[in-house]
C-alpha cells in the first residue's frame, strides 16, 4: 500500500502534535514509534499520522486508510489513551 505524504485533505496536523501529551505517558519519544494499523495493516510512524484536534481530544488516523489509530485526551487530572486501532507499537530503544 502506498501511503501519501503529509496530512490528509482535512487533517490540520500530523502526529508530531501528539508528542507532547504522549510524553506524559511514555518514557521514550513516541513520535518516532511505528504503529501497525489494525484495519489495513499499514505501518506508519506516529509523526506521520493524520491528526485532528487538539480539542476535545487528539485523534490520530492511519495515513493509509483513515481509521482511528490513537486517541489522547488530557483532562484536568488525567491522560486518557486509546490505542484500540493499533495492533502493534514499535518504539526504538537503546541497545541492551
Amino acid at each position: 500500500m502506498t501511503i501519501p505524504d503529509g496530512p490528509g485533505p482535512t487533517a490540520a496536523y500530523d502526529g508530531n502534535l501528539m508528542a507532547g501529551p504522549l510524553s506524559e505517558l511514555f518514557a521514550l519519544d513516541v513520535s518516532v514509534a511505528v504503529v501497525r494499523c489494525r484495519g489495513c495493516g499499514a505501518n506508519a510512524e506516529v509523526a506521520t499520522l493524520r491528526v485532528y484536534g487538539p480539542d476535545p481530544g487528539l485523534v490520530g488516523r492511519c495515513p493509509g486508510c483513515d481509521d482511528v489509530l490513537v486517541r489522547v485526551v488530557r483532562t484536568p487530572d488525567a491522560v486518557w489513551l486509546d490505542l484500540g486501532g493499533v495492533s502493534s507499537l514499535r518504539v526504538p530503544a537503546p541497545k541492551r
Binding site: 482535512t10 485532528y52 480539542d55 476535545p56 481530544g57 488516523r61 483513515d66 483532562t75 488525567a78 486518557w80
Partner: protein, 199 residues
C-alpha cells in the same frame, strides 16, 4: 426551577445569564472534528433508527424533506468553552421521527458517517429538545458544520450534537460514545459544567 432561580435576580435575562459556567461568548462558529469532513450526497444519504429488537426504520433524503420541519433559535455550548447565542436552525424534530417507533429503550447511541458516536438518554431526544438539522441561518448546513444533516441537542454540550448523523440506535442499557469512552462526561449538561467524568 430555572424560572425561580433566574426570576429571583429581579431583572430580565441578559447575555450573562445565558452563559453557562466556564464558557465565553463567540461570534464565530469554530469547526472541531475528530476526522475528515464527510461529504455525503443526498442520493446516498439515509437516516436509520434501530430499536432494541432489531427493527429498523429508514428515511431517504427526500423522505426527510417531506416531513414537517421546524425553525428553532437556540444557544449552543461547546465543551471547549465557547458558546454561541441565538443560532437559527431548520430541521425535523426527533419527536416526529420517533413518533411511530415502538421501543422500551432508555438510551440512544447516535452514529455518524465517518464513524463518530455519542450516547444520550432517550428522554433528552424527545419533547422538543432535539432535531435532525439540515439548515443553518437560512442556508443549507455546510459539510464542515455537519451537513447535509446533524443532530441538534442544544441543552447538552455540543459534542452530543453529532455531525453527519446517519443513525440512532435505541438501547436498553447505556453505553459510552466516542468521547464518552475517553474521559468526557456521560451526560454533558453545560449548566452543571459536566465536562469530564466525575464532574
Amino acid at each position: 426551577m430555572d424560572f425561580v432561580t433566574r426570576g429571583f435576580q429581579g431583572r430580565p435575562r441578559g447575555r450573562d445569564d445565558r452563559l453557562p459556567p466556564g464558557q465565553y461568548l463567540t461570534g464565530d462558529f469554530p469547526v472541531l472534528s475528530a476526522g475528515p469532513t464527510s461529504n455525503v450526497d443526498h442520493d446516498e444519504w439515509e437516516l436509520w433508527v434501530a430499536t432494541e429488537d432489531g427493527t429498523r426504520h429508514t428515511w431517504s433524503w427526500a423522505e426527510l424533506m417531506a416531513l414537517p420541519a421546524e425553525t428553532v433559535t437556540v444557544d449552543i455550548h461547546c465543551v471547549t468553552s465557547w458558546s454561541k447565542l441565538d443560532t437559527e436552525w431548520r430541521g425535523v424534530s426527533l419527536d416526529t421521527l420517533l413518533a411511530d417507533v415502538g421501543t422500551a429503550a432508555d438510551f440512544a447511541m447516535v452514529h455518524s458517517y465517518g464513524g463518530y458516536t455519542t450516547n444520550l438518554p432517550l428522554e433528552d431526544l424527545l419533547d422538543g429538545q432535539a432535531w435532525v438539522a439540515y439548515g443553518y441561518e437560512g442556508d443549507d448546513l455546510r459539510p464542515e458544520h455537519g451537513g447535509p444533516a446533524r443532530l441538534l441537542v442544544p441543552h447538552l454540550y455540543f459534542w452530543k450534537s453529532a455531525k453527519w448523523v446517519r443513525g440512532i440506535e435505541l438501547m436498553l442499557e447505556d453505553s459510552p460514545g466516542f468521547w464518552e469512552q475517553l474521559g468526557y462526561h456521560d451526560y454533558g449538561d453545560p449548566w452543571r459544567e459536566q465536562r469530564y467524568q466525575g464532574d
